[in-house]
Symmetry: C2
Subunit: 466 residues, 2 copies
């Protein structure tokens, strides 16, 4: 098998194999659902066995709720609970609620405690209790300790399973210790050197240990100034540091500087991925929705932003209403006015997205803020001027009025400059005020460009055309 | 130092330290620029020395071009080129062009070859040649070999520095081999077992090697079916697999199944991060712009999408123009019509963002496509109905016409349903056609909701109100 150049081992390799290289493909899903329909437990286990738990989770997310429940029934006590960790929240809630206590307990018996923490933190209290009761006492204590840290903190992110060594040990002693211990963490990359008070003295990558003779003192080959995270550090800051400094693992310490856990890159990767997704969703006015949410849940989650948008749209209409007499006199204004607002909205969205992203990656700072604001205004001015000429000519040709061309052109320039200003200043202001720059920016910004767009265009028309 | 709970070692720790925890803060930048202004090389080196190369890159991105050139002049031959790898493209181009050949060669002399590949792949031919000439022959050959693989392929992503062992070796032999070799890769996590033809037999994590006795055969403790990537696999597929399966490193093989390199999680993390950022930018109609781009470059890159938007806005105006007579008769229509289009645009953006994200994470597949399309349409219907009632009442109260309320309410429902349909079907169609679903979706989708919004509202008004 090793010389295969196919990374989808254990999956069907039909025509779709290439297209859906890593995801569950339609043939696999159909086969599994057929086994479920027949109640064929042995066949189901045989089909699920070669799949990675992350793929099983995807499968459970993609089928309907009733198919999912049937599958769980058929799987029963043969279930390996690793997939629970991989599920999105909505489906996880549903499954934890649906499973009976005994199946849940046996499914979770082999999970590591930090995975259990991740799994239970989003459950409601009743379900959380149900999961906790299914754990043995030691695990339960560890899980409850982790749950005491803030959500989105280093304490929640860290694993308590780590390999430490007294600072005076040699390479040989460390190797002998590891050989003698059966229960090392599944994946670890560094040995953490500690003093008797459990304070971190340094870290030694496994590769470095391997490359040195047994007599070598660990302290001599250690990184004695490793980056260390306080347990209450925000998860997003941790993830930023992992990404910025290409870290692979880092010790976590409590308020007294004592080692309490270790964070590895895969945890950081999940946080980064989530943060980028969250910004993207917030810019589009989406809440914490998931693909498996029902129609009702989805509609409810999207309602607030649409409501905000309705208010801003009505505000824009109020501006238009001030110019009813002008529109009644020159109907061409009604035809052209959405163009100015639309272009402003688009220009503002461009700037806004750049600003939100740059704030998230910490590339937009007090050092370059002024320069970026100036750039956005000038870009608005430049593109505004070019589109002013184009739309001015369109207005002139379409309605035969040079003055109408001038009015729409000037309104375009004004609105594009305002779009650039609003697109950068609003997220920067939100960030400075301690709010999430992505959250309500879109609503504020389009309100500004709609109101300014209609007001500039219709106001100029009232002054110059009547 | 080890017991510190401050992760910003080596940085100024003034008032801003908390806020800008990991980034270069304003005080650091000011200090460095002051040293540059004075031409104080020793002081500059002293200030830069404690900074991570990623922070130095951020600094160089944040200052102006002329400050940057002055800094490079003062730094001169003391320069450590590691920061070059961390720069964004625009600034990297500028610096490579500005540096004289000798400084560039000495700055790059200690870089690993895969970093050099990443650095040169985006340079124009002349600059690439300049960099390649500065390398010694062996490195140059390795870099040129990597450049022959497609950009965005596993071959470009992989490093050639890896640790392999013959399949028949024991733990002891592997450890002895590593102890005898000074030039092991800086970070490695697995030993790759190969047969005499360099085909991959299995992989052994370092932790597992440590945990076993010297006599143990590596083959007995190896993962004999590791995920292996063909050298021409797309970088995005590789990154997806790393994320989905929580991988830390994986061998890369050529067409004959022979080991040619290894990909590690930090490479995959960069790809994922870039892919999410790209989707976000494309949804907002942004090209490959960077924060350091000039006004002129930025305006040029944003122009095309604004141009597309202008065309769609004019298309919407053409629809409005068909109803000039209706608007002339009832000016209230001009006041209210942007509301329907705006709500449709927002609803469509919500759906579109969900769809683009779900396609990127491979959660939207042929197995659940129908269910998701149905959900989006029903969400549009549900929210459309609620907002129809609200806006119907607004229309009635504001203009005192019950029929106007009905017209805007019905138009709202129609446009919200169409928004849901367009928001999901357009990106799915683009994906199926082999195009990037994020790329032009926004333009298509808002065209649809603008046109349908104005047409439904004004058309119904023409039928029912005149």
């Amino acid at each position: 098998m090793s010389e295969t150049d196919d990374v989808t081992e254990g999956q069907d390799s039909g025509e779709e194999a290439k297209e859906d290289a890593y995801a569950i493909n339609a043939a696999t899903v159909d086969g599994i659902l057929a086994a479920v329909e027949l109640g064929a437990q042995a066949r189901l286990v045989e089909l699920l066995e070669p799949l990675h738990e992350a793929d099983i989770a995807d499968l459970l997310e993609q089928i309907t709720t009733s198919e999912r429940h049937k599958l769980l029934d058929v799987w029963g006590e043969e279930m390996d609970g690793a997939f629970l960790y991989e599920l999105e929240e909505g489906v996880r809630d549903d499954i934890v609620e649906y499973l009976d206590d005994k199946v849940l307990a046996s499914a979770m018996s082999e999970m590591e405690t930090d995975d259990v923490v991740y799994l239970v933190e989003d459950l409601d209290e009743e379900q959380q209790e149900k999961v906790l009761e299914s754990l043995d006492l030691a695990d339960r204590v560890a899980v409850e300790a982790s749950l005491q840290y803030d959500e989105d903190s280093a304490g929640r992110l860290m694993s308590r399973e780590m390999v430490t060594a007294p600072e005076h040990w040699t390479v040989g002693e460390a190797i002998d210790y590891m050989r003698a211990h059966e229960d090392l963490p599944e994946d670890f990359y560094k040995v953490i050197l500690v003093d008797p008070a459990m304070k971190v003295v340094g870290t030694v990558p496994l590769g470095t240990i391997m490359a040195n003779r047994r007599e070598k003192s660990l302290k001599d080959i250690a990184d004695l100034e490793p980056r260390v995270f306080p347990v209450d550090e925000s998860a997003e800051d941790v993830a930023y540091a992992f990404n910025q400094y290409h870290m692979i693992s880092a010790p976590v310490v409590d308020g007294d500087g004592r080692l309490v856990g270790v964070i590895t890159i895969d945890d950081a990767m999940d946080v980064l991925e989530d943060a980028a997704e969250e910004d993207m969703k917030r810019l589009a006015g989406l809440g914490d929705e998931e693909l498996s949410d029902s129609v009702w849940e989805t509609a409810k989650l999207r309602f607030p932003w649409l409501g905000v948008n309705l208010i801003t749209a009505i505000l824009a209409s109020v501006v238009i209403a001030q110019f009813e007499a002008v529109i009644a006199a020159i109907v061409a204004l009604a035809v052209l006015m959405p163009i100015v607002a639309s272009m402003g909205g688009n220009g503002a969205t461009q700037t806004l997205t750049v600003a939100v992203r740059a704030l998230a990656t910490r590339d937009l700072t007090s050092s370059n803020a002024f320069r970026i604001v100036r750039r956005e205004v000038l870009v608005g001015l430049l593109n505004g001027a070019v589109f002013a000429i184009i739309i001015g000519i369109v207005g002139l040709v379409w309605f035969g009025s040079p003055m109408l061309g001038v009015v729409i052109g000037v309104a375009m320039i004004i609105n594009m400059v305002v779009a650039g200003l609003a697109g950068i200043l609003i997220p920067m202001g939100l960030e400075r005020a301690g709010a999430d720059p992505a959250l309500a920016s879109g609503a504020f910004v389009t309100t500004v460009t709609d109101v300014v767009g209609f007001f500039a265009f219709l106001g100029l028309a009232a002054t110059l055309l009547l």
